[in-house]
Amino acid sequence: MSLSVGTEIETAPQRPARRVPFWAWPLALAALLVVLSVIRVVTGQSDIASSGTLGAALAWAMPLALAGLGGLWSERAGVINIGLEGMMILGTWGAAFGAIHGGPWMGVLGAILCGAVGGLVHALATVTFGVDHIVSGVALNIVALGVASYLAARFFGELEGGSDVQSPPLPSLPRVGIPGLGDALGSVEDKGWFFVSELAALLRAATTDLSILTVIALALIAGTWWLLWRTPFGLRVRSCGESPVAAETLGINVYVYKYIAVTASGGLAGLGGGFLAMVASNAYREDQTGGRGYIGLAAMIFGNWRPGGVLMGSGLFGYMDALQLRGGGSALHAMLLFIGVLLVAIGLWQILRRQAHVQGTVAIVVGIAVVVLWLISDSIPGEITRFAPHLTTLLVLAFASQRLRMPAANGKVYRRGEGH
């Protein structure tokens, strides 16, 4: 595990974060919609919360969410998984290979299997051989890139419509939605009513023309929560991440659960890769993942190692991605107003409630500067919009990382019979 930093590791007990009650989620979502409505009304940027943007955000979020979910499985079992990127890459190849030879559902299976193989290798290195988790993950990413690239050249290069770096077009998976609802909601959305239209847009995005894989991914998020927090199996997996030695003394074969979790992690990341190959586009392409495995990991971290958090984190990323790709500079420019106001609010809170005058003042000053920037400019350069999601992640982590708590034994090498 990497360095923890600080001198207070010895005694300062970490307060576990309190659970957020279930009703807080819809409330937060509503608040968010209100904010987006305000921004739309103030700036006139209709794309901020249009069903198109939200739908695209959902689609962009899914591969990240699947990778993040993979990370969650692995890290809940105590194995840091920076190899998600590699597993996703394997998944993109597996999806293409499966889909070409057995149809779309074989593609899904292929993605999962290939990703799972990556997970298995990571498990072998970290669990059986005790290699540092990050080292193994980095090595795996390099291997996976090579394997996928080589296999693609070997198996797609010769095919009609394929090449060394690209598979032929893949058969597509079915798309689903609630019939009739889309148009009705669409007409409400077009009215431009404050909040109501945003809500309609959100519902429309969530109910019309979804890939079946999106639905599956959402189900997997919910399923992961249920499996890990509501079943004996999940308790065992989590215990391996919190205290493998304790689990061992209760007769749990920690290796088995770590293997299962890390392999599942690979399978999920692989499915994320499959999503990219089969839903986001319709072919395998080299470099298709574009670092999404890492982003998924980041989404999981600021989702505080919880499924709902993963969804939120990847949703934020997906939204930023969708917004910048669709709207480009002007839509993101509108977000500046939001960020500025948010910073001022945080600053006031810091000063008034936490007596943190320095941080508070900094936040307020930066916030005002952002608002001024919003006033005097009318677009953001393309290069900057493209890294906006990454900058956002960095900022969110900088502000929130103290509130995060990773599984206690995450990243620690565990060996049977040596912990007593």
């Binding site: 794309d47 249009s50 198109g52 943007t53 695209a56 689609a59 962009w60 290069g157 419509g161 394929g162 090449s163 060394d164 770096v165 690209q166 077009p169 990219l276 986001a280 586009s281 319709n282 072919a283 392409r285 080299e286 470099d287 298709q288 574009g290 991605d321 969708a322 790709l325 669709r326 709207g327 480009g328 393309g382 290069e383 493209r386």
Partner: protein, 322 residues
């Protein structure tokens, strides 16, 4: 053409010309730019009976590596070597200096870097071709809004952008043009998902024709067009033929960049014993760039387009490059 080359006569032994292509990452099979070059090579093999060899770059390499690759081709007995893509500019320049006996060509570069007596610089007037499809877009648009999606914000792609905008404005000065570049790096040419989202954003905002110069990401643009019942314009080759079957009908035209013609002509010149070198411009006039009419979607406006074409050829319209 090429029937006069005596290709058939040499087909048993093979010509003593060995034509070799060095691609950038990806190489043959990108269904766009590299493929077009490959077609030229295949044609030369078939019609002129030359021997061929192909290599492609690996990820994240430097000029020295590219230069080494070219030198390995020389070692492998290549007499004519084509660097496909401006990324080879410096490498071609250096390799040409080291191997004065070998003939080189570079696609998409006319800079001092690659200049040498034994180098043919094959460049295209993408802005001129793009002007025509820009005009087509404006003529076909009902909403008065069109879009351009580029893979990467680099001078080469800016040429497409500038030509397209000029063409559209020539038809309708008040036309609204949305422009989007997808990425900072090569991934902008390989990510259909990005193309799709960007195109959907434009269609949602009222555009009804989108022209892409984004390589493989263009597949996503076509998908978006199909889903939204809108129009799209292809690039590099006649994408109404090469794109996936079910989206072909949204492609009203394509700006064809005949890299194959350039590559073939270059090889053929060597076979004919007249080594090609120096700047070779492939523009509207020489047929290096053109627009396609496959699918018959723009049959109603070909007259107007041909009119613009003539004006460009005649120099009455100068198309900007950036």
């Amino acid at each position: 053409g090429g029937s006069d080359s005596g290709g058939d006569a040499t087909s048993g032994e093979g010509s003593d010309i060995k034509a070799c292509l060095a691609y950038d990452v990806g190489g043959r099979g990108d269904q766009s730019f590299n493929d077009s070059a490959a077609r030229g090579l295949d044609q030369a093999k078939e019609e002129l009976g030359v021997q061929i060899e192909e290599v492609e770059a690996s990820q994240g390499e430097n000029d020295a590596a590219r230069e080494d690759r070219l030198n390995q081709l020389v070692d492998a007995g290549c007499t004519n070597i084509v660097g496909v893509g401006f990324i080879y500019a410096k490498a071609i320049g250096a390799a040409a200096k080291d191997n004065p006996e070998t003939s080189f060509a570079i696609v998409d570069d006319a800079s001092a870097d690659s200049k040498a007596d034994n180098v043919a610089q094959l460049v295209f007037a993408e802005n001129e071709g793009s002007f025509l499809v820009g005009a087509a877009a404006a003529l076909k648009s009902k909403s008065g809004k069109v879009g351009f999606i580029g893979g990467m914000d680099v001078p080469l792609i800016n040429k497409f952008d500038a030509g397209f905008a000029a063409g559209a404005k020539a038809v309708d000065p008040k036309i609204q043009i949305q422009t989007k570049y997808l990425a900072e790096d090569g991934s902008g040419f390989a990510d259909p998902a990005k193309g799709k989202t960007a195109a959907e954003g434009m269609y949602d905002k009222g555009a009804d024709v989108i022209y892409h110069a984004a390589g493989g990401s263009g597949a996503g643009v076509f998908e978006a067009a199909k889903a939204n019942n809108k129009m799209a314009i292809g690039v590099d080759s006649d994408q109404a033929k090469t794109a996936e079957k079910d989206v072909q009908d949204v492609i009203i035209t394509s700006m064809v960049k005949n890299v194959n013609v350039a590559v073939f002509d270059y090889i053929k010149a060597s076979v004919d014993g007249e080594q090609m070198s120096g700047l070779q411009e492939f523009d509207l006039k020489s047929g290096g760039v053109s627009y396609t009419t496959t699918g018959g979607k723009i049959d109603d406006i070909t007259d107007q387009l041909d009119d613009y074409k003539q004006q460009i050829i005649d120099g009455k319209i100068t198309v900007p490059t950036k």
